[in-house]
Symmetry: C2
Subunit: 382 residues, 2 copies
Amino acid sequence: MSDVGKKQSPGVSQPRRGESVRARKRLSVFAGALLKEWKRLALPLTDERVVVAVSGGADSAALVLALGELMEGGRFGVGVVVAHLDHGLRGEAGREDARWVEELAEGLGFEVVFGRAAVRERAARTSDNLEQAARRARYEFLAEVAEKCGARVVVTGHTMDDQAETVLLRLLRGSGAEGLSGMEAVRALRESSSDALPSRESSEVLLARPLLSWARRAETEKYCRERDVEFRMDLMNEDERFARVRVRRQLLPLMETFNPRVAQSLSRAAELLREDAIVLKIAAEELLKRASEEEKAARGERGAFMKASLSVNVLKGAPAAVRRRALRLWINGERGHLRRLELVHLLGVEKLLVGKRGARRAELPGGGFVELRKGRLLFYVK
Amino acid sequence: MSDVGKKQSPGVSQPRRGESVRARKRLSVFAGALLKEWKRLALPLTDERVVVAVSGGADSAALVLALGELMEGGRFGVGVVVAHLDHGLRGEAGREDARWVEELAEGLGFEVVFGRAAVRERAARTSDNLEQAARRARYEFLAEVAEKCGARVVVTGHTMDDQAETVLLRLLRGSGAEGLSGMEAVRALRESSSDALPSRESSEVLLARPLLSWARRAETEKYCRERDVEFRMDLMNEDERFARVRVRRQLLPLMETFNPRVAQSLSRAAELLREDAIVLKIAAEELLKRASEEEKAARGERGAFMKASLSVNVLKGAPAAVRRRALRLWINGERGHLRRLELVHLLGVEKLLVGKRGARRAELPGGGFVELRKGRLLFYVK
């Protein structure tokens, strides 16, 4: 970390005339793989600007270096805006990170935008922990930068290792398919209030992770070394009080003794479960619509003034996997959020459907409840 | 292990007259939980015989002891047939296990049936490894015993720990929802040729696991100690060359440092994914039917003599999660088995659908292939 700013821009010389053909042949394996995934994800190749989030760690450094290589090789004509947020957690080291990123970006001929957040204060003010507060601050910053630049896409350097860690953290918590499907390679940057698989809508800024499906962390480090760039270390990434750090340093290495390609296995499982979740979400939306329309039809004219309600009969006939997702969508729609809603609450609502004696009401966390009355479920906000 | 046969039947005294009411009150927590789950699974409570697989380990010993307690307490009137298979892997220790199980069963007043298998020879003869060969031999033996006894249900002592281990082993291999849903609490004993969630059919012998959804291994050991029964140890359960043993002794304990209730989390995830898989299987069956009927309709009369084929258009319009399951069902139906069929083969068949130049044929493992011709997929056995 002492020689920050010394080695940040080697190998980023301007291509000489007549060299472009040779340069095309010489694309590194890493940059070649990035280009392939970039195209697969249908990310822009010319005529616009993309925002690239760069912390200074190996992953984002490799990402931005490879984009530089692609540009130099004539494969890529997008205006790259490097965005770096100082979370205010690391004092002088944070300021050094920022200087390092600035020199890296300038060496590559990229624009660079900085931001600073007071994450500790933000965490103290909200119910978020430090990691959550940092994450929120980062994505807000990236959204702002994208808006200012008129960029349609924000790109991050999340790797397959990050994906494997995410899947394991979710597994440790007992998530279902949605949680276990980990991160998406492309999604809307602004997270929807529902946590159920936000869709890729045309008007929204996209968050893209072109390293997610293939790059191992070891590869990003190797590529940085090949480019003779000494990436920055974040001591928070070494702090074993964070569960993610322990997953990275203890759990994944132990799992690799069973199967050296376990990160790939986890990443594949995540992809399969994501595809399952998409189908089940559509089925749940259809069920919710039917349960609501059946109710409206049964109520007739008077229905217009009544509370949001669902037909018990329609819900009863549906398989549990679809019904629970429909109830979740319903509660999200009525409450406007899913905060603190756990499986146990959905099971409580489901119990109303079997009509056990006494069970007429299921409480939701943070007030509000669902009531069973005359063959319908009614939603009450507190 | 030296005092085998000394402590096997304490506390199994006949209830004295007039004690039954007191006995009902005194049901142990373990036996009470077993009874609750036994009822939830709709397993027989009177008038028939069930086969209980007993190895001599803590799990199956606790299961059979608790059934004895329920019977003694007047809660349970089923004829228990204890079945024990000597796998021929442990020599004298194996014969000691058998004697121990015999004394335990007799002390409880249960019938007992023994079998012996030559698992090592069986493994050498087939492509199975030792674990697989032992498993197959065991289930064949249990099916035979059930048939001879006229029993409708075979019960095993698999616990939530076994479930968590199974889920983790599948995760290490990169399974999707079906694999990650682990073991079922009740399924047909005879495994169907498809590995996709065998259903519970009325005419078949059932395999039931009434400890699976709630009992931890530590609880079965504790209950054995409470009953003053020294269960047997299987040295194979200590042999860290087996992946399952290392999952039990290394991976699960590490995961418990993140979440002490991780076995519950894994078990819950398995249950949720099983419910998802049921819905997706039904959707796949419907898709397969549509793709096949559309083809038949398009071919008209001539179709009767043609090879099994599917409509590309119908498959193309379906979501990946359903389409892949439909292709899997199709191949299983045409080949009669799913052996060695991996995701990569299904992806190969899917590639035919997008109609890339040159891709007209997808090979299947062990010969056979799927061909694209004139808007249909055709299946060929080699």
